[in-house]
Every structure is written in C-alpha cells, then in structure tokens.
C-alpha cells in the first residue's frame, strides 16, 4: 500500500504529529484535542490533505464563563467513514478571535457566521463575517452566558414562581412594552433609522463590462414572503438578463433562540422542543437528541425500543422524501396534484404516529433509554399493511407518474449541478451529497442503533443535478421500505425503557455529539453538561442550514426560474435552518 493510502486508513495521534501545538483534552467526559489557535490552520490543513479528513461536519462555539474562556469545537470526518476527530481552539473571552477555516472548508462559512452572531467569536480571514440569524442592527451576543433574553425569569427551569408560589401572571404583562422586546441601554427607538441591506448588496458579484458590451446587473430579492421558498427564507440574487451571477441566502426570519431555551430547560424538557426543529420529521430530531444524551449518560435502550426507534425513523424518512418530491413538483409548477398524492400517503403514516405517540407531528416520543409508549399489535398490523402493500405500490406510482415526464426531465436534468468536490467542501450531507456521487451515509459510516444489523443499500447518483436529487429520494424511499420490512419481521418482545421513567435525569459532566442520518442530511446534537440538571451548551448541527451553502454554487449560471426548483431539490425546512 502506498504511504498516502496508509495515512488515510489510520486515525492519527495528533500529540505525536504536533507535540508542542496540540494537547489532548483531559477534562472528564470530554474527547479530542485542544489546538493552539495560532497553529489551527496548519494542523487542519495537514489533516485534510494527508490524513483524509476532508469533511468538516460541525463548527460550534461554547462559552465557558466561569473559566473566562471561549472555545470553538470542530468535528472533522473522513468521507470514507469512521468516527470524528474533535478539535478545540480556546481563547480568552475578552479577546475572542480565531483563524477562519473557510479557506480550507467552504462549509464552515455559515457556521462561523453563526458563532460570530450568537457568541461574538471573531473569525479572522472569513470572507463575509456578518450576522446570520439575528438581524443586522442587533446589539449583543445572545448565546453568551451573561446575556439575558427579554422574558428572562431564572437561570434554569423549573421556575419557583410556578410552584410553590403559583400566582399566575402573563409574561407580556410584566414587560413594560407589552412585547417581546429589549433595547440596549442608551438606545432611543424613536430616533433610530434602520440601515439598508448594504452589506449584502455590496457583497454580491456584479457583471463586468466585457467585449464593449455593457452589462446591466439587476439585484432581485426572492422572499422572504414568497410561496416557493419553503418557509420564510430570502435569496438575494444578482442577475444579468435572466442568468444568475451570484446568490446570497438570507435566513434568520424564523429564529426562535432554540439553543438558549435549550440551556434553560432540563435535559428531559428539551425533548418536545427538538420536535419543533425540523417540524416535518419530529421523530428523527428526537432520535438525534436522545442519542447524544444517552452517550453522555452511558446507557443503551433495550432491543424492542431500538427496533421501534428505527421503525419510526424510517417511516419518517419515507414521509419526508415523498413530501419533498411532492413539493419539488409544486415548485416546478405542477401545482398541487403530486403534492396531494404525497400528502395522502403522509396522512396514513401520520395516523400511525398519532396512535403511537399521541400527536401527528410533534411526537415527543423518544426518551433517554427507550421510547415513551409501547406499540400495540394492531398498530404493528397497520404498519405491516402499509409497508408490505400500499407504500411500495405508491412509490411505483409516483415513479410512473413523474420520472419519465418530459417536462420534469427538461427542467431538471442538467440544472443546479453540484460536483462531488464542491459538495464535500461545502459540508453538504444527506441526499444532496449522495446525489453528487459521494456515498456517505451516517447509517453506514458510523452506525448507530441497530443499523449495523440491517441490510440496505446506500443510494448514490452521479450527476448532481435536480433530477438526480429527485431520483435519489425515490431510491431512498425504496430502501426505507426494505429496512421497515426487516424491522417488522424481527421486532422482539420486551421492555421499552432502560430503568424507570423519571423526570430528573442524572447526566454526568462531559460532552457528546450524537448524530443521525436524518431525512434532510446529517442531524447532529452537540451537548455539553456540567453535571447540573440542565445542559451547559446545546447546539444543533442542522442539515438544511449547512446544505444551503451549496445553493450559490448550484444556482450560478442558471436562470432565475430555476432557482426555485433548485431550492426545492435541496429540501430545506426553515425550522431547522433558523432554529
């Protein structure tokens, strides 16, 4: 084997490679290495070029107020598969600067902007360091531990005012403005005028005069109120005639401060909030969060619970993909007919979710150590009837309905191409990555739950255009049905929860990154605990958010009418993008 292949195959020991620049993280419950921030670029460049760590999955910041430090945590993976290499860069809180990794991994762009926006960590060398989730004129850094949000009551729930005091009041009545608003000291709302989106417009590429032809650039805002943007999402495009020169996505219109609320909640109280991230696939979000906290607690659910979890996760994948196909066709202009055929299948699966967990969309079904309620035999019978008979027929019907349609092929083939190198550099994940030719699926790369026992294929397509992203969703639906048939055949009897159900979970201090292959991509939860009932830091690595980095690459050179279809093919949900 050549030397380079040997290097890629192993997991390097960074303390041997960089003895004076990297040291292992020895805090109890923590993994990975701490890198000196001056040497960060050098270390990461070597890891990417020689050791095969070409996929930067997650960049997140943590505020350690008691120690006066800020920390940026990087999770690096190889597209060949395997566990993460966790790197951390620490810096004092007053001087929170760190070199930006955008020159090495384009996918770090939005995540670093988020760390700047919410924590105030400055990334030197970032091409466009602006606020991303908060609006441009916002003052303060919300996720810092010394920043208090408008309806602030106490540092952690449960609040004493509910019990034993109990004298009910409405939070709006306490706020003098009667509204969820908080102004920084010395600010006068009457005399302030808002600035335009100068920074965004300046950052867009403009046409240059070539060959004595004067090219006029037009800047168009698509959104935030637009029927085809899958939620409140805005794209600022610069056009020459109808061709797109550059595109900048603007998000944050649905930002609900999920991570700060997560720090106030106890671990169990966070579970229903995770339902509301990617609100179409709530079982998947629950799964990721339950995995992360179970890693910290060191417990594993019993067999029957694992099978039920996989069954729910694969049903969620099916209903997400069929919904995505329906809405891609909606974006293409086949108004609501394919979408309603997809919604009909979704209704049948949602009826099962309602019978199992009590709610169609906000399922709140997973608990730490298992699931909340058992699945009765008649519900299993209903699932069997769906999985063995109706759903395969319906996938074939959608296939027959849409795949050979000349209009779909004309509008989707060759449009919105994302090459494999671009996809890996942009940290794309899920169907977007696999449609570009990279067979990376978390269920195979780092198997969790019982996926290592199940037989299924990882769907890959090689053109990377909208048509391939549509076809790969059909392929994944068929693989999900295959997994469901195996799960329904093999599900054992037994308990559904490790230990007794308790509302006060004891989570030892440490950090954990639990990731699942969600229907939209790799959904990861980074949880840091310091032994208290509520997490110290809770971060969601949202696949839709990071897949949007590729939107600009996909859209350049195409027409404006194609942007809507390209956005539909990435399949975003704004609850996840903005959190």
């Amino acid at each position: 084997m050549s030397e380079s292949a040997l290097k890629i195959a192993q997991i390097p020991d960074l303390t041997l490679l960089f003895p004076d620049k990297v040291r292992p993280d020895t805090r109890p419950g923590y993994q990975g290495y701490i890198v000196e921030r001056e040497h960060l670029l050098e270390v990461v460049r070597l890891l990417r070029d020689e050791y095969g760590y070409d996929y930067l999955s997650s960049v997140t910041g943590v505020d350690y107020l008691p120690e006066g430090k800020m920390e940026v945590v990087y999770h690096l993976y190889k597209t060949l598969g395997g566990p993460a290499l966790v790197l951390k860069a620490q810096m004092p809180r007053e001087d929170a600067r760190v070199p930006s990794l955008v020159s090495l991994y384009r996918g770090a762009e939005f995540q670093e902007r988020e760390a700047w926006d919410l924590l105030g960590i400055r990334f030197e060398g970032h091409p466009d360091l602006r606020r991303i989730l908060m609006w441009e004129g916002f003052a303060g850094f919300p996720l810092r531990k010394d920043w208090r949000e408008p309806y602030f009551e106490e540092e952690a729930k449960p609040f004493k005012s509910r019990w034993p005091e109990g004298f009910v009041f409405r939070a709006e009545d306490r706020n003098p403005f009667g509204d969820n608003v908080q102004y920084p000291p010395g600010f006068d709302p009457e005399s302030w005028t808002p600035a335009d989106d100068e920074a965004i417009y300046r950052a867009l590429k403009r046409a240059t005069d070539q060959d004595d032809l004067h090219a006029d650039t037009l800047v168009v805002n698509l959104g935030p109120q637009h029927p085809s943007t899958h939620g409140v999402f805005r794209m600022v495009v610069s056009l020459v005639e109808e061709t797109i020169l550059d595109l900048k996505p603007v998000m944050g219109y649905l930002h609900r401060n999920h991570e700060k609320i997560g720090e106030r909640n106890t671990f169990l109280q966070n579970m229903p909030f995770t339902d509301r991230l990617d609100y179409l696939c709530s079982m998947s979000n629950n799964f990721g969060y339950a995995l992360a906290v179970e890693k910290l607690m060191g417990i594993k659910p019993p067999e029957r619970a694992e099978y039920i979890r996989v069954m729910m996760a694969e049903l969620t994948r099916f209903l997400n993909h069929i919904f995505a196909i329906g809405f891609l066709l909606n974006d293409l202009g086949a108004y609501f007919t394919p979408a309603l055929y997809a919604i009909e299948e979704r209704e049948l699966i949602l009826d099962i979710f309602e019978a199992v967990s009590g709610s169609r969309m906000m399922c709140n079904y997973f608990r730490f150590g298992g699931v909340a309620r058992d699945v009765s035999d008649d519900i299993l019978e209903k699932v069997r009837r769906l999985v063995n008979d109706r759903l395969p027929r319906k996938v074939d019907e959608m296939d027959e309905f849409l795949t050979r349609n000349e209009i779909v092929r004309e509008r989707c083939e060759g449009v919105g191409i994302l090459t494999a190198e671009q996809a890996i550099a942009n940290s794309a994940s899920g169907p977007v990555l696999r449609a570009s030719g990279v067979p990376y699926d978390v269920r195979r790369a780092e198997p969790y739950s019982i996926y290592d026992r199940l037989e299924f294929d990882v769907a890959v397509r090689y053109h990377g255009d909208i048509y391939d992203r549509y076809l790969i969703r059909l392929d994944e639906m068929r693989q999900s049905l295959r997994i469901l048939q195996q799960v329904l055949r093999d599900i054992p009897e037994g308990p559904i929860m490790t230990g007794k159900p308790q509302y006060q979970v004891r989570v030892p201090p440490g950090e954990a990154y639990g990731r699942v292959e969600g229907p939209k991509g790799e959904l990861g939860f980074y949880v840091v605990s310091n032994g208290k009932p509520n997490p110290w830091r809770y971060h969601v690595r949202a696949p839709s958010f990071i897949n949007l980095t590729s939107l600009a690459d996909m859209a350049r050179g195409n027409k404006v009418a194609d942007v809507v279809a390209i956005l539909g093919s990435i399949d975003i949900v704004l609850g996840e993008v903005d959190r």
Binding site: V168, T337, R404, E406
Partner: protein, 202 residues
C-alpha cells in the same frame, strides 16, 4: 415517442379522478357522513378522494391523542368532588414551557400544607401539548384531554384555565382512555390489595 411520459402522467391523474366516482357508486349512501365511511377513507386501501368533511364528519381520535391537560376528580357519595391532585408540583416542574401554576392549600387551623391545590392554573396559550405532566404525575391526577374544539374570542380572559375549567370526572377519563384507565385501576387494586395483606400481617 416524445410526450409519452406526459401522457402517462395524465393517465395517472385521470385514474385518480375516475376511481373517486367509482368508489362513490360502490359505497353508495354509506360513503359520506357515516362512521364506516370515515373508516374506509382512512384505511390503507383507500382510493379516490379521502377528504373528511369537517365539521359534519369528524375523524375519531386515537386513545393516545393528547391535547390540553385536565384534572381528574373522583365523585363522592353526595356529589362532592375530590380532586386526585395533591399539589406535589411535579407537573409544574416537568412542564417544558412552564405553563402550570399551583398554589398548595394550607390547613386553616394548623397552617400546614394539605395535599390538595388551592389554585391550579394552566396557561393554554403556552401549553405545548407534550404530555409530560400526565406522564409523570404519580397520582394519575392530571391527564391529557381529547377535546380540541376550544377556540374562543377573548384570549386574555379565557385562555388561563383554572380548577373549575380543568376538573373533569373519572368517568370522562375512562370514556376517552379505556385501556389506560383499565391498566391504572388494575395497578391500584393490586397496590391496595398488597397494602391490606401487609396491614393484616403486620
């Protein structure tokens, strides 16, 4: 032939359209506004139109369905209400959006707390319908209701539910969640049977 794909797609749509009428003719009068018609339209072999004409037709909700919480009371001999709630406060502590407010009652003579609530408020604008209060109540005193038709015109006055609005009898609970009720009654009977044998032995 160019256009063959479009023709196949149109054929699929046409089939969906025609089969609606065929199903209507096949089911006849039983198709709409009857419980069996609703069941047929949500079964896994439904074909054609599957719309349920709310509010004339309502989908029956499954037993596990959770909407807003309600307090369970046992009916005494002369119609008095005995709330099962002991104001332990676990539901208020476990509620994720913190929408439950409880005041413990104090005994008027001794001034010590007694296990029943003096006031119990739920702000239903904030309630997430997660079901944690019902899941972790040790006394089966608060359960999730099925009633979702609670729209009102006045948010400020009507959306904070007090004990009057929240209390519902055990018979109502048994009617909406029969299997859960049966399991809980069996567990209670077993526990009280065990206690009786303990006190008889000791």
């Amino acid at each position: 032939m160019t256009g063959w794909g479009i023709l196949k797609s149109l054929w699929v749509t046409f089939r969906h359209l025609v089969v609606t009428y065929i199903e209507d003719i096949r089911y006849g009068k039983r198709r709409y506004f009857t419980p069996e018609g609703i069941e047929a339209r949500r079964s896994s072999d439904v074909q054609g139109i599957f719309t349920v004409q709310y509010p004339e037709e309502k989908l029956p909700v499954p037993e596990a369905f959770r909407y807003l919480p309600f307090l369970v009371y046992e009916e005494g001999a002369n119609g008095e209400r005995q709330l099962r709630c002991t104001s332990c406060g676990i539901c208020a502590k476990v509620c994720p959006p913190q929408c439950i407010w409880i005041v413990r009652k104090n005994d008027p003579q001794t001034g010590r707390p007694i296990p029943t609530p003096a006031a119990f408020y739920i702000d239903v604008d904030i309630c997430m319908n997660c079901g944690f209060c019902a899941e972790y109540c040790p006394f089966d005193a608060i359960k999730m209701d099925h009633d979702y038709e609670i729209a009102s015109y006045d948010r400020l006055r009507e959306h904070i539910f007090d004990i009057e609005r929240l209390a519902k009898p055990v018979s109502y609970y048994a009617s909406i969640r029969p299997t859960d009720y049966a399991l809980e009654e069996a567990a209670r009977a077993q526990k009280s049977g065990a206690k009786k044998t303990e006190s008889a032995a000791g």
